[in-house]
Assembly symmetry: C2
Homo-oligomer: 359 residues x 2
DNA sequence: AGGAACCGTGGGAGCGCTCTCACTCCGTGG
DNA sequence: CCACGGAGTGAGAGCGCTCCCACGGTTCCT
């Protein structure tokens, strides 16, 4: 016989937490009834339920998730998958808002959010293993680059999945939420054309990101609508420095442009720098627009006209949709696309020099 | 009788994932041996191990975490607790870096990061329940306000916990990592004094946050060191607008100040605005410093001198320390404090007007 | 040569929970 | 009056895993 208590190697000192058995004993019912009472089953008499409730409070009973999960095959947790997040990408307020939004959708639920960031290809294999290992009930994937084949891989596992941002591979029945990047691009073109600019150019984002491609497509459509030529297009990598370099080239090749649409505010900052460095003014010589309505858009030396999109709303929706699909598998909700709006600031306003511009 | 197969309510269609039993069968060993091989136990013959490895690959075996967790009482996951995170706080790049850093510390481990954001008091009770429920092996708490009593509550549960940012309640044996806010404040005072400013004021952060208090203490110590008077102190809430208001008041009450230290870059932006609005120039009339070396410090209309702190390094360390403490409970590591550095930019440089300032 | 000390192995118990099934106790209808 | 069904309950199996223990086979020491 073993005399020493058979404790596992890592055990929090204090008293062991009460089990369902203890609870049942305290409540004077069977384990089964206690379980039913706890899970809100409807085959429990009011008295039994009350007794259990009291015992829960007395004992400070907390169900063991592992045990529950073992039999139900549900984990009450979902994953937020962020493929290849270099720090720079992570710093984007976008992620903060996405995380906050999902968390918002999850409150009132006991579902927890597990963060899965897979940097290298090696890592992403592990991530995929984790996901198909049944360790989460569903996943929200922040879709980014054309390269990552998350859409296909995940849909194969049958794990309920929602994409934030339209994935490349829309062919399959993937569900996603997104903002209307195309509409936003169109708004930008319409606005710049509307204030009388005629020689318009854009600093687009990377060609392997749907958001960038969609904004560009919308921009070009908007130009067509306004009867303007398609104008020069240069691509940059959504960073300030990258955009500055691209804009320098643009200004050299097309010295006559009078309006530029940068596909992100951070890039617009770079464009602003390049425009100033070339001796031109904003908005005097060149009207400039950004996208995202990032905080910096308001604080830039010339506050930037930009396009807002309710990322928070989108993230909350994504969370809610995932919960729905977990609850009722097979229901493949339609993709949801949120509209965008234009926010006008000094960078596209002609007359008054920026002075008292407050958010 | 129910004729339909007795499946649990939510079951992924595909074939059920192989269990350890299946694995053992395929490898031609017992379940015990398979388990040992998988967990890297040392009592396994090379042949057996190889057979198991092969079977793992063949079957695509993934251990069931719930079952494992049930018996080991380990969950292979840790929590990142963010008390009362309003969206504004979340947008701070600080969190992005913290998350990235912790994730970095966790790779090469199969430990997962669970995000616990508790907004309301009600929420925080749930969070605490979750933590003491044994659902995670440890926690990293981003410490913020004096009010939240996380330090005490958690240390009572015995759950391994690391604080990021010195908690208020240092009395107990809490382990934390932090940056040297006091040293940073001192650096700021020394720098402004060093460039010849004599009438110095500070826009400090909220008095209920240790980071703010420490920076202020350091600042005041630095002034003393330099033989300067303690000068005016106004408090703001780490936001741009709040600081702008505070600075306006400051400039009214003390029109002769020639140097201001704002305890964050975002606040420095507000101060900058107020200084300009009062018709003064930076750095001509007033030398201005921020703190954090936030991205905006470089992109502001007058690039801001600031204090850098390696939050990434701190976060990685926090993750590593937590893993250590989980591995070897009882080892209470000493708090770690990372040093800070000054980054000089136009806002404290006298002669040349800001023009070609590049990061 | 005999025992101790090991090694690699397999059997079995049991972690805390849910869920099926059987059972009792009613009320209801034939 | 007895069969019947439903509501409330409890016993028991079993989810997939780890870990303790017992067992045969070496090797090493006495």
């Amino acid at each position: 016989m073993n005399t020493s208590p058979p404790r596992s190697l890592h055990q929090v000192p204090g008293r062991p937490s009460p089990t369902l058995e203890d609870l049942a004993l305290a409540a004077g019912v069977s384990r089964s009834t206690a379980s039913r009472a706890i899970n809100g089953g409807d085959r429990v008499s009011p008295e039994a339920r009350a007794a259990v409730d009291r015992a829960v409070a007395d004992l400070g009973y907390i169900p063991n998730r592992a045990a529950r999960s073992l039999v139900t095959r549900r984990t009450s947790s979902i994953a937020l998958v962020i493929p290849e997040p270099d720090v720079r990408v992570m710093m984007d307020p976008f992620f903060a808002v996405v995380i906050t939004g999902i968390t918002e959708a999850l409150r009132e639920t006991d579902v927890q959010l597990v963060l899965l960031m897979s940097r290298t290809g090696d890592d992403s294999a592990r991530t995929l293993r984790y996901l198909r290992g049944g360790h989460v009930d569903g996943a929200i994937v922040v879709s980014h680059h054309r390269a990552d084949s998350w859409a296909r891989s995940l849909s194969e596992t049958g794990l309920p999945t929602i994409f934030i941002g339209r994935p490349w591979d829309t062919a399959s029945d993937v569900t996603y939420v997104d903002t209307d990047n195309e509409g936003g691009g169109r708004l930008a073109a319409r606005h710049l054309a509307g204030i009388g600019r005629r020689r318009l150019a854009t600093v687009a984002g990377p060609a392997d990101m749907t958001a960038a491609v969609d904004r560009l497509r919308g921009w070009q459509a908007g130009l067509r609508d306004a009867g303007l030529p398609e104008g020069p297009v240069v691509h940059a990598d959504f960073t300030t420095d990258g955009a500055a370099a691209a804009a320098r080239q643009l200004l050299t090749d097309h010295p006559d442009v009078d309006g530029i649409f940068a596909a992100s505010d951070l890039m617009a900052l770079g464009v602003l720098e390049a425009v100033h460095a070339s001796g031109r003014t904003v908005p005097g010589d060149i009207a400039l627009m950004g996208y995202d309505n990032h905080a910096v858009a308001g604080t830039a030396s010339t506050p930037l006209t930009s396009i807002t999109q309710s990322i928070m709303q989108m993230a909350v929706r994504a969370g809610a949709m995932l919960l729905e699909e977990i609850e009722a598998p097979g229901s493949h909700p339609e993709p949801v696309v949120y509209s965008t709006e234009l926010v006008e600031r000094a960078s596209t306003m002609v007359a008054p020099r920026a002075s008292a511009v407050k958010a």
